[in-house]
């Protein structure tokens, strides 16, 4: 079963999609699960060691990420809608991200878990991000 359906330039995630990644303190990818690799169009080896903004989409406002970092750096969970680029830049996919700081071998890491987003939520987020 696919974890996304392509609709033109968009890869629409299905309900079963659960994209997980772990980064170090500087946002370098330490681990990425299969769903993330599939949705973003990378092999796991292509992702590990790269900065997480490899999947960043130009439509995403800086403010959204600033909010994300500000939140998780204080040890809180950040949740929000994120538009990501697929490898090659021709496609994108929306996720609802839950990001949280964890300790791994005495060092601060971040874990990000992403699920599908409804059409209404995409519309709301798109409208909101245009204002930022």
């Amino acid at each position: 079963m696919n974890i996304f359906i392509s609709k033109g330039a968009e890869r629409v995630l299905t309900e079963k999609a659960f994209l997980v990644s772990e980064t170090d303190e500087k946002g370098i990818i330490i681990f990425a699960n299969d769903d993330f690799c599939e949705a973003a169009g990378y092999r796991v080896d292509d992702l590990i060691g790269k900065p997480h903004n490899i999947v960043r989409h130009p439509d995403m406002p800086r403010a959204a990420f600033k909010d994300l970092w500000d939140t998780v750096k204080t040890g809180k969970i950040w949740t929000g809608f994120v538009k990501n680029s697929v490898n090659g830049g021709n496609q994108f996919y929306w996720v609802y991200a839950t990001v949280y700081p964890i300790m791994r071998e005495g060092k601060r890491h971040y874990i990000s878990c992403r699920r599908y987003v409804t059409d209404d939520e995409i519309a709301t987020a798109t409208a909101l991000y245009k204002t930022l």
């Binding site: 997980v20 772990e22 681990f31 969970i77 949280y100 964890i102 874990i111 699920r115 209404d120």
Partner: protein
Amino acid sequence: MFDIRKKDYLLLKEAIQNCRDFVFETVNETTIEEESSRALINDLLSDLSHFANDYKMVRDANYIQAGMLALTVFRAKTGELTNVSMAECTVNGSTVLKETTIFYNGLMSRLKELFCEIEDGFTRISHNDLRMPFKSDGWEKDIKKLNLHINELQDIIADQYGQQLTNSLSLRRNTFDLSHYSDELSSSSNEQASSLEETAAAIEELTANVSASAAKAQEMTALAQEAKIAAERGNSVARESLNAMSEMVSATEAINQAVEIIGNIAFQTNILSLNAAVEAATAGDAGRGFAVVAQEVRNLANRSAEAAKNIQEVAKTAREKSHGGLETSKNMMDSFLVITQKIAQTDDMVRDVANANREQMAGISQINGAVGQLDQLTQQNAKTAANVSSLSAIVQNLSDQMYSEISQKEFSGKEEILHSATQMQH
């Protein structure tokens, strides 16, 4: 008293629906506003809003926990067995997920124990100790089977080590013998080479002797030829002398006959002269002169008879001598014939000697060839012996190395093998 206005009812229904969508995760976020004009309704809406916010904490914690679990599983799939760490926010998560995580971590701990046990076992093996079996305490079925297989494998390896130890011990003994024999081979090859050299020198001398003898035989053949010619010439000279002697014998016969005739004539002449004297006497004086003549004739006849008698004596002697010469010539011819025969025999014998020499030379040359081949073989042997010697040194080295390697390993049955090897040596 609890009757509700339709507007509030719809507000509440929508808020409940939103909560439901949120809880069932058909939406990611929900917002419930307190929009009613009635405090009680707003209180209910506020409760629902609190419920949604509380639930968001649970859901967020669940996502994070599920993500942690996913990453841990991912790590486990790539071969790193770790526990799922409990993020701080996890306290807010669902009990069932927390329990699942605890189960998972329990499984991981147990697996880690197993892996530690296996790792320790392999470390022991890599440190050459195969005496301890792998423990499968508390494990059943698949894992127990795995442990049994590992133990079987360890036993097989121990058996192989035992075999290797036995082999290396016997290899050491055999290489020791091999090196001894190869040394022997080497020295006997060298001895063989030197005695072959002596043989070759002796053959060379023999060849020289036989060639010298052949040359002498050649000379002898030539001399025999010359002697044969000389003897033949002697023979023909003897024949000529025989012929001459025969002619002399016939000539003396003829002289004898002639002298006999002369004797007869002298006798008759004597008788005639006697008769004439008688007649002359009868005649008287007339016959006196005649009687003198008759006397003279008679004297001459007597002298002739005397001379014939002397000639006859001489001829007789000559005939006897001639017969002697004839005999001698015959004897000479016979002697020359014998000499010729003897020379021919000598020549044949010399030829035989020459033939024998040739055969000897051929034999010697065959022997020479054989000695040459023997020499080559011996040299090859010596080389091979040297190679075997150096190889046996290498093999000895290797077998020592093999022994020292295998003897470092500890495994069941090792002591027995070493013990029986020591007994074999005694």
